[in-house]
Symmetry: C2
Subunit: 437 residues, 2 copies
């Protein structure tokens, strides 16, 4: 028979079991943290009606979408978790309690050209807090504490949550009569980290912004100092439009409350260069960097938006949210050797029967499982050596060999596969647990 080559689509992640265990542990830590802050789980479909999913989209997003018809139905695979949330909140408005705090961890799809580290199928881990008509600014300060808790849980210490406010930037642009160019300017200054100050200046000049204003933008976004010093600088500037004043007031509040939420000084800062390209952010914006690995880009981003579901409802639903691109993060951390798959098995104990009558070994496995121990019993008829090799390869922490002798003497050895040490006890599950914990 002709064989088909067993290939996996480029741009999708398919891991070996040991890597999958590690991936799942990271995912679980993120989920546990989201739950610890009381976020509710959602699981919206991956497959949606194109009409609904693309109510807003256009331009680049639309080109990247997996869209197709089946029968008469025009379908798309979701490209983020925000649009499905908008639809969900608009649809279920009457059944939700506000502020509505939800998390969703799931796959999204983007028709990227496959290249290293670019994914077509990727996990996003999102939280959002949605208010009904209004949402206090303190919520914008709670999310950095979620980010902080997650990256600590993931084992990082040296990371910075960078915070800015779109209103401050927009107020500045208004002040220099560049309101119409706001989107372009934001797009350009967002690249300062990547392309450098000189290139940003050049691109701003290309927009026909006068020299003085270009200088003002550059001075503004490159201000040095602590968060408090930056806020002082913001307050001292002679800019007196409402947008600007509101933005400064908001960032002051956010910084004040981030501290109350227990995020240490060296894990957050006001960074006036952060703009986020996405045009739906209207206030606070976040990006998070691992300081020793700035080249990864932001590992957790988000911000405040004024109107979550405007394409579906007239209700005003302001919100604030963050997203972690887990698939990419996992890939990058793995590539940098910052994480390493260690655990190769789920089982804590492997029972190896070396006798005809399996009654006792099977009963012991069942007892251990009942007591919560993940237990495997080797059920194929092989020589002891082959069975031990299986335990070795999978690095199962404890092995118990049971033969006729062990049954007749009611004495077994619990072997610690890492140290090679053996502890003797009876064929009793609760006694065994004492030896392995």
């Amino acid at each position: 028979m002709n064989k088909t080559e067993p290939r996996t689509l480029a741009g999708t992640m398919e891991l070996l079991p040991s890597e999958q265990i590690l991936f799942n542990q990271m995912k679980q830590k993120i989920e546990n943290t989201y739950q610890k802050f009381g976020f509710l789980p959602l699981n919206t479909p991956i497959l949606e009606l194109s009409e609904v999913l693309l109510a807003k989209a256009g331009g680049e997003t639309e080109k990247q979408i997996y869209r197709f018809t089946k029968g008469d139905t025009d379908l798309s695979l979701r490209f983020d978790l925000t649009v499905p949330l908008s639809k969900y909140v608009a649809k279920n408005y009457g059944n939700l309690s506000f502020p509505f705090r939800r998390y969703q961890i799931g796959k999204v799809y983007r028709g990227e050209k496959p290249q290293k580290g670019r994914y077509r199928e990727l996990y996003q881990c999102d939280i959002d807090i949605i208010g009904d008509e209004e949402l206090d600014i303190i919520n914008d300060a709670e999310l950095p504490s979620v980010i902080y808790t997650i990256f600590k849980e993931l084992g990082f210490d040296d990371f910075t949550i960078c915070i800015n406010n779109r209103k401050i930037l927009n107020g500045l642009f208004e002040n220099i009569n560049q309101k119409e160019n706001a989107t372009d300017i934001l797009r350009i200054i967002d690249k300062i980290e990547k392309i450098g100050k000189e290139a940003v200046i050049k691109e701003l000049q290309d927009l026909n912004i006068e020299e003085k204003s270009v200088q003002k933008i550059i001075d503004f976004i490159t201000t040095k100092g602590t968060s408090d010093e930056k806020i002082q600088m913001l307050e001292s500037l002679d800019i007196d439009n409402k947008t600007y004043a509101k933005g400064v007031e908001e960032i002051k509040q956010v910084v004040k409350y981030i501290r109350l939420f227990g995020v240490p000084e060296n894990n957050f800062k006001v960074d006036l260069t952060i703009a986020r390209g996405l045009d739906y952010y209207t206030g606070t914006v976040y990006e998070t960097f691992l300081n020793d690995y700035r080249e990864l880009g932001s590992v957790c981003s988000g911000g405040r938006y004024e109107n979550l579901a405007q394409y579906y409802t007239d209700k005003k639903l302001p919100g604030v949210g963050i997203s972690i691109g887990l698939t990419r993060l996992f890939y990058k951390l793995n590539e940098l050797n910052l994480i390493k798959a260690q655990q190769k098995s789920i089982s804590q104990v492997l029972i190896i029967p070396m006798l005809e009558n399996l009654e006792k070994p099977i009963a012991l496995a069942t007892d251990l499982r009942k007591l919560g121990i993940k237990t495997e019993i080797y059920l194929n008829n092989k020589k002891l050596k082959a069975k031990m090799k299986y335990a070795d390869k999978l690095k199962i922490p404890y092995v118990i060999v049971i033969g006729e002798d062990e049954i007749s003497t009611n004495k077994i050895k619990v072997k610690n596969m890492e140290t090679g040490e053996e502890e003797i006890c009876t064929l009793d599950a609760s006694e065994i647990i004492m030896k392995i914990q």
Copy 2:
């Protein structure tokens, strides 16, 4: 602005948070059990190359597939978790330890006509044990103990795991010279529960099977009695081909070991009518029924196959597996009122600040979270009544109101929202935990 109606595609499941919590709890119980038996996690892509995914498919399966092109790439959404497993094992053969025990819980896609209880996007929860060249029959007896553990965990007592063996049926067909009609006969007798004995007889007659043989098939599959009596009957029949003898030997072994694995007599039985339509099963087959709700059909099915990955590799990879269609099961149990969403929040504690300075309330929330308590703090500026209403609606178990008095006296009330009882303690997280556990 024109609004798009926020609709969800028919045939996909989108739940309210309380239902989602319940769904996730069921999913978690299944996953925990799979892990308790030492199965390794896999997470293969939903999006695959059509060429790879459809290496075998044809007929009905192919028609139901979501298949489309993006650029030059012919893509499909997976329709089960078995084909991706085949590809995975063939691809990663050298990196896996055999027997390879894996679980995968994920969404699969079927282009069904949408109707009540039929899903286009649905969760399957699968486990399989794959051998390299060979796989002992005892593995076929371990899976029913996994099924048993899961349905007990899900709260069921009165369910039956029905077991048969394809070789027995094939041996019978060989004996009555109906080997060529085997597939058709299997398809027909598989329907006996649905269409009744008379209709099965008629359909068998339509295949031009002689009266005597039809009678033999019917007598055979309608044998009454205990599992042991059925096995005795099977042994007493005058059928002397190898296939039949092998099948009887296998089912004897499976029944013997199912008992050793601790599955009670009333939760399993030999059922000679179980055939499973899918033609890749070659030995043991399983179906599981909730006895008071036979109309649900099988809630967990599977079986033994001789060659998992024959479309991708020459390696002989026999396996045995089961699958739970969780989305459909959840829908049906919900419809029958057998499960009921109770929990409306993830949070165990809601802190309601009623003062200007949020330092202490926020610090308490942070402390509780550090001690593992899922804690929410109400951050919007509302009247106490509105804040309590939020707690009520979400049924958050404990509420702590913190105002100026509570701070100055260092005394708070921990209110049990179900009983209305209040316990007094200080603003200390570990003291509070004592009151809520």
